[in-house]
Amino acid sequence: MKQLSILSIAFLLVAAVAFTGFQQQEKDKKNKKEQLDNRNKGKKNKPANENSNKNDQQPGKKNQKANQGKNNSPGNNNGKGNDKNRGNARMEDDYNWDRETFKDRNKYKNQEKVTICHKFNDDEPAVTLSVSVNALKAHIAHGDVEGDCPNIRDDRYSDRYLNERNDYYERIQESREKVFYSQSILDYAIQRLTDSRVQLATMRTNNVPQVEIERKQVVVLELEENVSLLETLIGVTANLLANKLQ
């Protein structure tokens, strides 16, 4: 009799604990959903480049010529891929192209990779990411640490979910680095376009044969078209990646 009473009280206690846990879980889920909703609302209201400014880690190092060129974006561009869109691409790496470094670009592009433990702002578990050396500084500034994340078992999530999540963020990081590289090439191309236009104008005043000028103009036009498309694609990709790895 006494044992049964104790047993029932124990059951009651366990049930109460389980119920509280269940309620807490629901509450967490609700909070998380609210946070996500707020974040999405913020994303919609925020101008596209606001977020990027937070992550902008390369102000002084970027060459001024490139910035000048950016304002003189290629010919009949009609505002496509404007600075607002491109602003999103400015994230962490820092390339500084000139003719010499551009020739050796593959050497700079395939930088050594380092492993970092990327932390999130909320209580989501951290992810181990492989990032280029250039991107390390920005990640450290964000609060990430070099090396693998500590192997702490989080019972809230299954192994499958955690692995999928890791792959997902790896993909985002990889894409971010590609966007940044493309952005640097775009800046350099715009700078080169500006220079070429000046050169063409000088040639015209110096009575260089028309055939030669026209030949060069074709090359400039081809670059202009490709630059315009690249600007658009950078904008699209950067918008896709916005707020995905914070």
């Binding site: 049964l4 119920f19 997902y168 775009l186 670059l223 498309l229 694609l233």
Partner: protein, 74 residues
């Protein structure tokens, strides 16, 4: 007291089993939804990044042509 406990016990056990299985299922469903979302987003990002890669290569090629064309005039 004894009768009361005897009556309540099965209900308590049922309640306990129900709440625990409910929360577990809920988490699983939520995880599956998130995984599906991540997969589809990942796919879109991959496709867009591939296009970006191709276009960047085109710009690089155009730049090389430009370099060649303007090299002699500098």
């Amino acid at each position: 007291m004894y009768t009361c406990t005897k009556i309540l016990s099965p209900f308590l056990i049922a309640f306990l089993v129900f709440t625990s299985s409910c929360s577990e299922n809920n988490t699983k469903v939520q995880e599956e939804t998130t995984i599906t979302t991540m997969d589809s987003t990942s796919q879109v990002i991959k496709e867009t990044t591939d296009k970006l890669d191709d276009q960047t290569k085109k710009v690089e090629e155009s730049l090389e042509k430009l370099d060649k064309e303007f090299e002699s005039t500098e």
